[in-house]
Symmetry: D2
Subunit: 408 residues, 4 copies
Amino acid sequence: MTITEVVQMQGHLIDSGMLSRALDDILGAGADYEIQNLLFGKTKNDESTARIYISHPDQTAMNDLLVRLQNHGVNPVETSDAELVPAPMDGVFPEGFHSSTNFETFVRLDGQWISVQNPEMDCGLVLRDGGVTTVPMSDVEAGEPVVIGFLGVKVVVPPPPRPASESIFEFMNSVVSSEKPQALQVRQIADQMRDCKAAGKRILWVGGPAIVHTGGSPALSALVEAGYVDVLFGGNALATHDIEANMYGTSLGIDLSKGSGVEHGHENHIRAINRVRAHGTIAAAVEAGVITGGLMHALVKADKPFVLVGSVRDDGPLPDVYADVIEGQRAMRAELKDVGFAIMVATMLHAIATGNILPASVPLVCVDINPSTVTKLADRGSAQAQGVVTDIGLFLEQLAFELVGRTS
Amino acid sequence: MTITEVVQMQGHLIDSGMLSRALDDILGAGADYEIQNLLFGKTKNDESTARIYISHPDQTAMNDLLVRLQNHGVNPVETSDAELVPAPMDGVFPEGFHSSTNFETFVRLDGQWISVQNPEMDCGLVLRDGGVTTVPMSDVEAGEPVVIGFLGVKVVVPPPPRPASESIFEFMNSVVSSEKPQALQVRQIADQMRDCKAAGKRILWVGGPAIVHTGGSPALSALVEAGYVDVLFGGNALATHDIEANMYGTSLGIDLSKGSGVEHGHENHIRAINRVRAHGTIAAAVEAGVITGGLMHALVKADKPFVLVGSVRDDGPLPDVYADVIEGQRAMRAELKDVGFAIMVATMLHAIATGNILPASVPLVCVDINPSTVTKLADRGSAQAQGVVTDIGLFLEQLAFELVGRTS
Amino acid sequence: MTITEVVQMQGHLIDSGMLSRALDDILGAGADYEIQNLLFGKTKNDESTARIYISHPDQTAMNDLLVRLQNHGVNPVETSDAELVPAPMDGVFPEGFHSSTNFETFVRLDGQWISVQNPEMDCGLVLRDGGVTTVPMSDVEAGEPVVIGFLGVKVVVPPPPRPASESIFEFMNSVVSSEKPQALQVRQIADQMRDCKAAGKRILWVGGPAIVHTGGSPALSALVEAGYVDVLFGGNALATHDIEANMYGTSLGIDLSKGSGVEHGHENHIRAINRVRAHGTIAAAVEAGVITGGLMHALVKADKPFVLVGSVRDDGPLPDVYADVIEGQRAMRAELKDVGFAIMVATMLHAIATGNILPASVPLVCVDINPSTVTKLADRGSAQAQGVVTDIGLFLEQLAFELVGRTS
Amino acid sequence: MTITEVVQMQGHLIDSGMLSRALDDILGAGADYEIQNLLFGKTKNDESTARIYISHPDQTAMNDLLVRLQNHGVNPVETSDAELVPAPMDGVFPEGFHSSTNFETFVRLDGQWISVQNPEMDCGLVLRDGGVTTVPMSDVEAGEPVVIGFLGVKVVVPPPPRPASESIFEFMNSVVSSEKPQALQVRQIADQMRDCKAAGKRILWVGGPAIVHTGGSPALSALVEAGYVDVLFGGNALATHDIEANMYGTSLGIDLSKGSGVEHGHENHIRAINRVRAHGTIAAAVEAGVITGGLMHALVKADKPFVLVGSVRDDGPLPDVYADVIEGQRAMRAELKDVGFAIMVATMLHAIATGNILPASVPLVCVDINPSTVTKLADRGSAQAQGVVTDIGLFLEQLAFELVGRTS
């Protein structure tokens, strides 16, 4: 069975984005649409009108969709008087009550559209004192007539403010949030990685030193061994703290097995760098048995390339690090061939640097505990960036668990 | 003089938002448009095509606009072969060079559209080895032919990923940023407040205790006296620290004139509350001369209403504070009449509470040093919220300077 | 075998905290100490001197400790000329090189203490041009004499700036960081919970709605069933989104099994509240089969108490929620009996509220993805608060895995 | 007149930091002290005891100090029975009531020390049901006896948890906060700068591009002209956006005079770089009249040196930028001579890089809207760093106003 409905909308549908949002809602709900009629305003002063034919196999989902569309100012063409049901108890609305928006709203009673007083979100629409008014749930009285469903209700949404010379404020359409089911996100990234490998493409990782500080290094090393890291970009700090952890069991002076230590006064990292410099390259230090485990060791053993590019705050640096950042960019570009998926973990500097040189056609996931890293990346042109705000150590452990089984 | 140009675009123009973004770019550049032809895809699988006639009085601005549109996949209808100019020096492009995007790009040479290799942002398009390739500025060699301008260049922008069941990641269209010219924002808020008063409407302030901690209380008090605060919503903390500052010169135990002190061990705030409770109301304490200055004093003296609603973390509370939050909501609703502008400063809890009950038709500015307060407000339905990320104390000082002259 | 060493220090040892930091370093390194001589300055203008006898079973650890102490201005009593070893290669220091601090430093050569030029962190001390100077690793030349170890080196640490009337800046001794090995932290919290239960004490949880949004609800419900949640404090939002997730599969309108949906336009939460209000209490709704799973269901079924206290931004609220916050505080106090461990997850408001009423003797862990929640809690007097900055959903999953085996 | 008092303390006074905190409190209150007796525990298992003689000219300040000390477990030697005063009204304590801590507390009645039930912060100590119990302000009843002042009260503070192998959690002693009176901080930084210049020393600035984005460039340029910027360290972005702003009136594509524009699609910055590269150096571009204003122009005109060091994410870069970061470090070191004050504004990368090479003896202020920049700097060894969390544009405007009069 297929449920169908026709809705209409009017206003600055195209330049305000209303129409594309409505279609987005429709597709997001699993429905199909056909635009039956679109009279578009030719100039910025002309309004447009649209009629959209919607179909969905499920009545409940269709109702939910119609409510959502109505809340965005898209109202059914065929309507009727609003249905009123008395509140069953003080402080309780009848089931199926219309939950209000904070936009201008009208309710049809006896064929007349009545304006709702005091538009307020998440209230009921109650017939009171001869009019229709928003009433918060806690204030409704038993027996008061309350509007049910979406029929006989019309919501008028004004166009969003356009960024013009008289307004400097931006509109916030969406944000990167830590309030997402992260376990689910991990599974989906694992799927993307499997798909990339199945397509014969390479996976590019870009990483910062928090991978080591948060204890994520064993998990990432396991992913190297299992073939999910084809090339790694990073800086001096990532490799240094990884090697420090292997040589001394610490990262920035913190004992990784106990979590205790002091933030500074440490010097293990500078000793680690010195020792590797004496061998000439990280690979040589691995071969000499000076580095016996960790991420860099795993990369060398698996014969996977890495590009480390320095920054002005570096100590040392390690011998493999490009001190010349322009040469470093060239080395990074040379490793982009056949990259089919990129993941950036706990680094803003190298993430933006990689975003700068990566074609927009490569899917890109950015993982950080700080939402601003993700948004900065997108702001700087990597519009395809997908953000995950989560804990790095736990994220890598879960990802390794999904892809290669538990590792720690 | 009016410069005109016709551009075309093809793809999922409406449901991807491409068309509305293009119109936004056009209006944002100060140009006018007329949609000449829009063949819209009726279903989600159909592509749309559009031709847009653009006019602008200024040639340079028109060129800038055409470049921007091209970067978004909107290309001129009339084009020609690309113009090539040799690089004047090693590492320098010719003036007017085409700055590349990371999207699939084509360059027309001898009537043929050639695909650009290695799409990368902010490079030049250089004729090299018989093809056209992106070259970073530092790598171009003197004499190499470089594409100039937008003619003969075509950028193909894929539709943005649609949030569908197989993808859980959100797209980031824009963010609230602290990297804005704040002095300008202050001036524009001052204008909105003047307009609100000129229209005979009331200005609603919602504030948190950081107003006091950051030294912004004198500036806000000056705004009360000058008539720019018609009603204030807040909690126990704002009023308590304001009164503490007046009685003891401290806020949370910090000496406001010296900035020194300790965070806890203080107890001035609880003594301040006790003293006001003994008088029964804040107004009574003002009348009794127990409170001699500060924000609450200014409100009482100017006979401006305030609604203080408590929270579970409150000490005391002050006698005017609603301990019952539902009664507090009712008191807030009762003060919304004729509010024509709302400004929320340094409070997430009361900002969201006010957003919940405010009609969408009331312009609303949210000021906080933490961007997440602003985005949370918009997420919770107050889509009209405009965000300003800045320092509270300095913001209030500048606003008072704009509206009533320097106050401190 | 026991290694012993005598160190000395001089200056404002007590009021600057130098002495306590030194003893902290000693104990932190697993060493023992005996203060042999402490001449304390009686007034703020008098310097103190101390000699400390240190013993440790391990020579390497002792050397590390002595280096650390020296970096903090605590120098060995017995010293000698500095040992110099030539750099083995350009850009490489000899093994065991002294890694410099940015404090004033002296090196003893031929019995004379020579001042080191250009104090800079993480450099070598190199004999060059007749003096001793800091040289960065990359600038040392093969054959240059480099100081080894700590003998013959003296570091003079100035007292830290005291917060006085002429300075308003705070000193930062330590911070809450997300850069910690989180898996380890989870295990240690699991141990604390087991110890609490073994001691016959109760575990108090304080939670925010991000528990539900991040998919952590099944894990926490498993902990309820296993007896690791004796009482829960929270607000309307936690219970509402938990019940919404059970009734509709969404949280704030987001489909928890797919991660997709829209932030607003949803109304499931308000319908969920309405339905529970019709039953009178959450427990009644559970008994009536209206709530069939989730955290609140688990608490009701396990007969564990919860206290929900409202806030001014609440919709509804749920019938169990205290609208009067002072009554809510009383209800919370009444549940503190025999609490031996408290954990606060993803809530600032209720965490601070609980911190306000909790004796300092109850260990308290605060878990949040935002470091400022943890620091605010400590600032407001809950000095015993231990902070974990991590992802809520993954944290709860890992904790449940540790305590009751994997749950999702 | 001088008020004197003798207090005593017992416990792990030195290694827990209790003694240094107490002396800190005493000096912070403007009092003098003399340690009369200090029996120090020689080993980590021994307790220490101390008696401290305190003097202060002001009785009220002395009382406040004694209350604060008592809250930290430092109790007067001479005491008496607690004084009890009946509560004057329901919900109101008598003036001077003892405000409780959440530590174990005793009250002396009839010569006996009675343990206080339910230690809780910010309550009164009330004689009820034959014992002494904490009572929240809202719950006290008229006539109930309430403890006044600090005599007859003893607070026992346990040692703070020491970071040992079984605990990985850090203690938070203090934090960098945006909740400070910023106008005051600006004035104090202005004083430090004047003092530095008066002493014939140089002021070092380290800056990030947000100086330009936030509209702070004119203010900083005015400071250059007035002689308060002797040398500037930064990266490619700061200089590029400054020059872009001068050439095109935009910063990252944002029109600085209107605040509107789009985040990407812009290419003014890359054109600005290209134009300067064609002239060979920034100074040459200034001399050629290609750069006519802004920060870099002001530096060139005032003949002040700057060191720009590149990073891997740079476009271009500008011709003056060091692409080799190790050479860049050397150039920075060469400019440290005679620096007497350093200020770092809106940059984490270059701030840490500068902190790495700066002697600890140079006072250093770090200004950022993001608190984590400041704490990261201190974590990495620049313990002298003083943090100011504020808006960059407003900060620079206020600082210029203090030092050279209003500039915009």
